[in-house]
């Protein structure tokens, strides 16, 4: 509970940080694992994100139980055995970004996002390229990167190790409106 209050405060700090603030409650995060034995995908469309252009801060928060799988058993195993979502219900990211955002609004701008991911009780420094674009008052942000489950103390049983990729492809896609 204390951890959640801390994360909530970080998110709210970003929300309160400045005037050029864009938010969404329906961001997208998907993760994909491809092996010769099986393709796995899970997607979450209830991702909360806040981007402050003036402070150059960015924050994400999502419920792990919000990731939906095609197979019922996979979803159960993901929540109960891998990310233990009853104990660690959220994945969060809080950080900053750098890049030439002066031209954002005219074209998609490449930025470098740096901060901390919290997942499965592990907080890890993280950095990835991303793009942001503003069109008709809507900010669109996209990023693709890879995460390694063992970096977050997520152990994959040897029985299913060949079915789950060592590196998981993650796709982020947010469409944010200015905070009113």
């Amino acid at each position: 509970m204390k951890k959640w209050i801390l994360v909530h405060c970080l998110f709210v700090n970003v929300l309160n940080a400045g005037a050029q603030l864009y938010v969404t409650k329906t961001g997208f995060t998907g993760f994909y694992s491809k092996t010769p034995m099986e393709d796995i995908k899970a997607e979450n469309n209830q991702v909360y994100a806040a981007v402050d252009l003036s402070k150059r801060t960015i924050a994400f928060s999502m419920l792990l139980k919000g990731f939906l799988f095609r197979k019922e058993l996979m979803q159960e195993h993901f929540n109960e055995n891998y990310v233990e979502s009853d104990q660690y219900p959220r994945a969060t990211f809080s950080g900053t970004f750098s890049g030439n955002i002066d031209r954002v609004g005219q074209q998609a701008v490449v930025i470098e996002v740096t901060g901390k991911i919290s997942l499965h009780g592990v907080i890890k420094e993280f950095s990835t390229p991303a793009t942001i674009e503003i069109h008709n008052g809507t900010l669109t942000g996209k990023s693709n990167f890879q995460l390694i489950p063992r970096d977050f103390n997520i152990s994959i049983p040897s029985l299913v190790r060949d079915k789950i990729a060592r590196q998981i492809d993650v796709v982020i896609n947010i469409t944010c409106k200015p905070l009113k």
Binding site: M1, W4, H8, F11, K25, T26, F28, N45, Q46, Y48, S61, M62, L63, K65, G66, L68, F69, R70, K71, E72, L73, Q75, D86, P89, R90
Partner: protein
Amino acid sequence: MLKKIIIFFGVVVLCLGVAWYWYSMPRRGVLHKTAEVSVPASELYDVYQSDEAEANQRFLDKIMEVDGTVEEIIWVGSDVVIMLGVGAAGGISCRFSPGTEMKNTEFKKGMKVLIKGKCTGFNIDVNLVDCVIVSKQAEP
């Protein structure tokens, strides 16, 4: 002896078939499941807002029917998220997954609806997934 071998392999094949069936079973939505909890949107939000741990005991992973007023309708790819307002900063975020008939149904802001879905917890809003519409007001 041959008969025993045939029975043995028959049992093995049957067990593998059952295991494969369970492993491959698609995610079941809530459409044909009975709701375990029925609660107004404002009460659901208030319980989570005041004590998340207690709210999780009552609602987390439960299939529930929630009645409330449509505040916002947001398309996200092939999914739809309907926000039920509760007169606070947060609300109830109801995610309708692909395969529903949402595209053929018109919703308007202010419409009163009864939604069935599975509770996944609290993250500024109370989140529901695999939602279906149980009933809706004809016009707001």
